[in-house]
Symmetry: C2
Subunit: 415 residues, 2 copies
Amino acid sequence: MTQQIIEILAGKARKAVKKSALVSTDQKNEILRDAAATVRQSKDIIVAANKIDMEAAKKRGLDTALLDRLLLNEDRVESMASAIENVASLHDPIGAVIDESTPSNGLHLSRVRTAIGVIAIIYESRPNVTADAAALAIKSGNAAILRGGSEAVNSNHAIYQAFHQALSSSELSSDIVQIVGDQDRALVGDMLRAQGLIDMIIPRGGKSLVKRVQDEACVPVLAHLDGVCHIYVHASANPDMAREIILNAKMRRTGICGAMETLLIDQNFPTPAQLINALIEAGCEVRCDDMIMELDNRTVSADAQDWDTEYLDAIVSARIVSDLDHALDHIEKHSSGHTDAIIAADDKAAEYFLRSVDSAIVMHNSSTQFADGAEFGLGAEIGIATGRLHARGPVALEGLTTYKWIARGNGHVRP
Amino acid sequence: MTQQIIEILAGKARKAVKKSALVSTDQKNEILRDAAATVRQSKDIIVAANKIDMEAAKKRGLDTALLDRLLLNEDRVESMASAIENVASLHDPIGAVIDESTPSNGLHLSRVRTAIGVIAIIYESRPNVTADAAALAIKSGNAAILRGGSEAVNSNHAIYQAFHQALSSSELSSDIVQIVGDQDRALVGDMLRAQGLIDMIIPRGGKSLVKRVQDEACVPVLAHLDGVCHIYVHASANPDMAREIILNAKMRRTGICGAMETLLIDQNFPTPAQLINALIEAGCEVRCDDMIMELDNRTVSADAQDWDTEYLDAIVSARIVSDLDHALDHIEKHSSGHTDAIIAADDKAAEYFLRSVDSAIVMHNSSTQFADGAEFGLGAEIGIATGRLHARGPVALEGLTTYKWIARGNGHVRP
């Protein structure tokens, strides 16, 4: 039965996408500004709906971190409205010419960006994903089918209503953004297997959600499961720069996917003890190999699984590596393909690292905490992808497009 | 057990890809020219191996078309060698900078093309796919796992040997191209479910093969199932141009995926009978609606399934449509998303068509038979994709790449 629901939703979504191809950038931006204004006007309704979700969540005993992600207050509603307006200010990718050519047959060829089609976003707790995903879908000409978590159902519906209102008086079909309830867990399973109906699935939430989607989906998934990010401090690294970068990469915010989780120090780096000391002084637990343990008795011994752990906390795994190739081997074995960095004054070593490490983002002399769509100048991001096809790293409007080939002739026939 | 075989193959392939990232374009080109020379030198061996396959195929009573696809003679081996050399002459996509920027945080960002990783090619009959796929994989830095059809097993192995020999004396690991036998049908099933081990699957062959791969694969698939290509003759079309284009699009070669299968004629186009007459005179069967039947009594009535049929033969389905929107509705319902064209002197109508039709290739005043990687100036193509993610339309070297983000800083930490 839920399969039929998906068919109906996806059918309406597909029609909305078709119509969207003929809507101008100005019209789409107007809808977004309209939606932002409606979100602001509906502030009280949204906050009241969120209060219901918050109370239910507290009764169910959900933890503080989750309650914080779920919470909407006036400031957060205002941020949500600003974020929608920001999407309106971004360059419209649809219709952009990627490249043009005139091969020897004389046809004029161009590759032009188009919407992907129907995108399902499956998410948890944070109600602002409703607004972000809806805004990005509208701007990129895709239809979004939103499936939020049960804990945020009232908040999500209140936000959705603002978009529905803005869309209803527009050139776009209001089916460009649809929301499905949490009534049936089977619905998610059917979404994951809806090849041909849904073109892409983006999971946003905890690891168990992302893992379930990645394991079960036959529809393409855009996501990252882990952010086990490494920093390798090369023998040539400037000691002060190394200390500043690793402190920032680990401790600025420990809960983000771009935070450093593993520190690899070259055996020829002159001041490893200072790096470890700086981390410990900043309140970080250091789980490490024997060589580092000898440098500082406040460290603890790492076990095998530490090297594959995304702590998202003030904990780091650290080890001494014998050289660049040893660092590369460790990264190849343990990296989640998200972001890995080298600190080195030796440019040749840095270039070798950047070329060799096969992660979505590779960095030189930079904190891994920059791994973020906004920091990369992309505006709002829908997520960070560690898959190998389509879009990689921070995915924003352009990552939500595909292209078609346009061939213009003048009666061309093939000899 | 076959699952373990896939794990071993894919593990070796992954290592070869890693090594390939450090091999220069010149080195890759040298390997390709070496392989081409070895194919030429092994001409007698390859033709002899093919003879064994041909005799077995004849004994098994395989049809003439298949026997023709399977056949290798001296000319065809020479073409194969030239095709490998042609790949050597193409621009190397690996390492190319897609775009660069310096956002306000001051990092220098670039997106650089890298190999996708491990690509499985599952194919039938044509042994030249062995050479094409191996050459494209080597040039694009990907590892290829080749799984040809049982009918071509000796031919494929003889061609593979030439590559193996060229690779063995090179910087690249010979595991960059691996071939698996036809020993076990279960092997293909395990390839289709080898998420994380195989990054992409490309099926090349008949519809039943492509359909099985598309239906069963959880690994991303690059393919097209059907080429139900449409040409819409707008009211404003130049009658002579329309006649020349549709004759070429249907009759130049009827067996290719870019051949026109359905002709839509606007009710206000002045000379529909001439179009139908031209097709019939050229030996084409016309299956059509009542209005066209009235124009020419040599036509036959189309039934419902004709509108979804890829004939790959001298047969066309044809109907009168009331206007551009009617044509678009028909195409939306029946197109396979491969190639669709409009013939029109009215540029506004043409632009509306090009923007509205959501196919991999859309054309104006051109024969659909140009839908081909070589005609599009891409050099050798690995196939034509009608999926919506990653690469669309003719897929060549660039379509076999992904990218990574490189961020270069100078001690950048995030505030």
